[in-house]
Symmetry: C2
Subunit: 211 residues, 2 copies
DNA sequence: ACCTGAACACCGTTCAAGT
DNA sequence: ACCTGAACACCGTTCAAGT
């Protein structure tokens, strides 16, 4: 039987080295200048010809996706840790803090997720995995009676990106401003907030998120 | 004394007609396909040569700004109306509804505001004007005891864009989902929510917003 | 004055020639 | 196998030639 192309045989040593150099250079360039940096500049920084980029990554978009996938793996890992360490509302809040802090520092990720290529299959799979962990965080907090019962993991995810969007315009002048909006938004997730307003509609599911 | 270039002598009839056609075509293209549409396509749709675009607007960016300015004027006008019609919290909520509804339907505006050219002087002036009206809305609601006292007009503005960011990923599958996030976020602005959490730092000012 | 399309610079992507 | 840079298509912008 055939393996899907995901797990092909390893690259030659020099190719593997170039691949790593390109990913590192791309991560740095995107973080500093956004995803508009030219492929030529990334290649220059990595010390390879710009043709090599397209030998390893079929498209610039795919190069970005690859980096975003790495970041999401880190988020999944820390979410699992905080679930084990301090379940309940504190774990949910810790996860939101983690995501917001990461995205504020490196706007490229935020751009990417909000942008066109949400339909990338790998990105969708990874997001489903992340939402699975967030769902555990949410249920744990709800069982502890520390999170209102009419919100879902997708709600928490979307509100987290909302905090990023709110704080981004301020982060040049006031880098710590995001705490303010995280507190504000997180406050609306506490059980007490539910008495103020019944939410319209049903909590969204992961399927609705993926187009 | 000289007039600033803002108010120059009127254009020739055909030039004025082309200008309008270009603005209309651009608005439609941006709404349908985002700000990535080519200038050539806008020109085609307007029925002019693509060179004409740059005769009227020094740059594509400036063409976008011009359209955003129009949208902001509309927002300012409706904000003034709802302030007169129904002051208090309802006016604040109505303003947020108005902005979110507009931006969800036409993502181009949202992209633009979040993007690089926040430092455009005309855009900054218009935003200051808008924030002035929002400030009146906020104070009116606070006097009525319907809005917590530790939030500013800039807070309300940023939280509004936050709601747009939250709802955008869902709006393909569930166009009305934004009501959910507006309710959630607006709930955190009520005086009762203040007892749950004291906000860190000071409410941001308009200056902090403009880089 | 204004319009137009050829021309330019830049960028993502391809591929023939090299190791 | 892999790397490279010349070549291509596309896009924003300029400008000389036309009305």
């Amino acid at each position: 039987v055939e393996r899907p192309s995901a797990e092909a045989r390893p690259l030659r040593a020099d190719a593997e080295r170039n691949r790593r150099a390109l990913l590192d250079a791309a991560r740095a360039c995107f973080a500093e200048q956004g995803t508009d940096v030219s492929v030529a500049e990334i290649a220059r920084r990595a010390g390879v010809g710009h043709g090599t980029v397209f030998r390893r990554f079929p498209t610039k978009e795919r190069l970005i996706v690859e980096i975003v996938l790495d970041r999401m793996d880190e988020l999944i890992a820390t979410a699992r840790e905080s679930l084990a360490a301090s379940p309940g509302f504190e774990a949910v809040l810790g996860f939101m803090r983690d995501v917001v802090g990461t995205q504020i520092q490196d706007r490229a990720l935020a751009e990417a997720v909000g942008s066109s290529f949400r339909e990338d299959p790998d990105l969708q799979d990874k997001q489903a995995e992340l939402l699975g962990v967030v769902d555990e965080l949410v249920r744990s907090a709800q069982r502890a009676g520390e999170l209102r019962r009419d919100v879902s993991a997708v709600d928490v995810h979307l509100l987290t990106t909302a905090v990023v969007a709110a704080a981004t315009p301020l982060c040049a002048a006031t880098p710590d401003a995001w705490h303010r909006y995280l507190d504000l938004v997180a406050g609306s997730l506490r059980p007490g907030a539910a008495t103020h307003a019944k939410l319209p509609g049903q909590p969204p599911t992961a399927e609705q998120l993926q187009h």
